[in-house]
């Protein structure tokens, strides 16, 4: 496969004294998270509840998308997180949310590896309940990528591929970090992502709400 050309930030007509870099500075330390963690470490029950409220949706999103038993995974994730909270470094570059994502990701990988029987995901139609068929490929593409269809298509991916797609595209994790947690090479991670996207597109196209040409 031929790679895309390098991305360049080269200006066509550079004006005087202008720096072409235009990066938004990284936000500083999230003081509120640190204060919350301190309160949690002090044993403040309100802080614990606040932490669960703050991180729970992220943890649940990961569990429900990446584990066949999300409720069990959610509780296991918190049981895994509580004793590790002190390892979070507020001075590091990762936010608490990112750190949590990584920790939960690692747990879900372990759970996946421990499962001797992997659930079989049947491959029925994604969503044919609505008569949304169209002759226009553009409209069909948009409808194919409808949230519920996309979610259903994601569920059809093998777990390792699904983890990479979800973590990279939905949670914005760098592939290098995902590869590290998965215990695979960065190149393998990339190729898995590529295959996963191709598979997703295949599933979505196969069930696209497009009228067949006569």
């Amino acid at each position: 496969m031929r790679g895309r050309p390098p991305t360049s930030q080269f200006p066509r007509n550079p004006p005087h004294h202008r720096c072409v870099y235009n990066h938004t500075p990284r936000p500083g330390i999230r003081v509120s998270e640190t204060a919350l963690l301190r309160a949690v470490h002090r044993g403040d029950p309100t802080a614990r509840a606040q932490l669960v409220k703050q991180l729970g949706p992220r943890v649940w999103a990961l569990c429900t998308r990446l584990d066949p038993e999300p409720e069990d995974a959610y509780q296991a994730a918190w049981a895994h997180l509580w004793p590790r909270l002190h390892r979070f470094d507020p001075t590091g570059t990762a936010s608490l949310s990112t750190w949590t994502t990584t920790v939960v990701h690692r747990l879900l990988v372990d759970r996946h590896r421990r499962r001797s029987v992997r659930p079989f995901v049947p491959g029925g139609p994604l969503d044919d309940t609505l008569d949304t068929r169209t002759d226009d490929p553009e409209t069909a593409t948009a409808r194919a990528l409808d949230r519920s269809r996309l979610t259903a298509a994601l569920d059809r991916l093998p777990e390792p591929q699904r983890r990479i797609v979800v973590l990279h595209h939905i949670h914005g994790m760098p592939l290098a970090d995902i590869a590290r947690t998965e215990g695979i090479a960065a190149g393998t991670c990339k190729s898995r992502l590529h295959r996963a996207r191709a598979r997703l597109a295949e599933v979505l196209a196969a069930h696209a709400p497009l009228r067949k040409a006569r």
Binding site: G3, P6, N13, V20, T91, L145, A198
Partner: protein
Amino acid sequence: MTDHPDLHDRIEDALPEALAALPADLPPPPELDAAVLATAPPIRRGWPRWTAPIALAAGVLLGIGLAPSSAPTLTLTPGAHHIEGPATVVVPGGTLHLDGTAAIQFSQATEPNPGTVRDTPRTPATPEPTMFTPRDLLAAGSGAAVTIAILAGTGTWSASDASPDHVLTTGDALQVAPNRKVVRTVAVPPTTEDPQTLPAAKEQLAALRQRNTELEEARDALDFEVKALRGQLSAYGATATEWPDDLPDPYRPEPFTEWAESVIADVPGFAIAEVDCSEFPCLVLVESGPDAPLAEDGSIDWDAAGRAFADQKPPGVPEDTESSAGISVMETNKDGERSGVMVLYNAPDSHMADGIQERLQVRTRDAAQRLAEADATAQ
């Protein structure tokens, strides 16, 4: 399947955006959160430094709590004793039922030394050179068979000759003559529970504890600030980037420098001023020469040099390797004479970790400044 051959490609192209639009957070069922909180284990973050005295105090309290309710019976031998009650102290001439602390001097001497024993209460507010202390009292006891001073709490002296019991309270002292008669009781200045000094001492202790807490909080806040500043420094690119272990060889200093020089050498009007490989990735600083091409608006046309560098990959890099290149141009126009510097990098996309861009920004600025200063010095 659909008959539109390009639908698959359309969908695949639109996938990243559609996936990114999916919510990263989903609300968990409330009962699950409740279960999580109910089963949350206690969190420990090491042992704070104040836990040792607390543990010690707890141990003492536990020891007290586990102590048998019946007071031990102590039979004293001659000498000075410091007794912590409750205890029953047996000495010649009687028994002391102590519920507190007492100093007891038991000697074989027969005569008290009246010069140091006082029979009037001491007032701490009016100290005298012969301040009466328990030590004085014990010294005074050298003339008696037994001298008992109640330092805290109460004690009941039961003489063995069936004389009436003496109830002693804090500050009271009692001397038992060799004939086993109580010869005198005195009051000694309390050592720990002076009704006048104790509140002041407690107040001072509370103030010191409060101050200590404030200082600890201030220190913690400063510690946190230092950490936060370090984190920000790191986040804003003040920390050098390590060379990745798995970086392909063509991007390492020597081959990369060689390649960069060959690329720029092919572009007329520009020359490499410096290749900074002090950290990953290498930065290439390109200067414009007097014969550098100009764009339509009269500015230096950096395009050729920039693209020559950014649109290629070092030899030996696999074709499917995605690379990332960055270019920064600084140009001056002094009296119509244009000059400038272009800072370039070219590195594998997979190795451009978080934070590198910020670091590159800092390095680019520093490099440009370094070149400008070198030019100014040369002129």
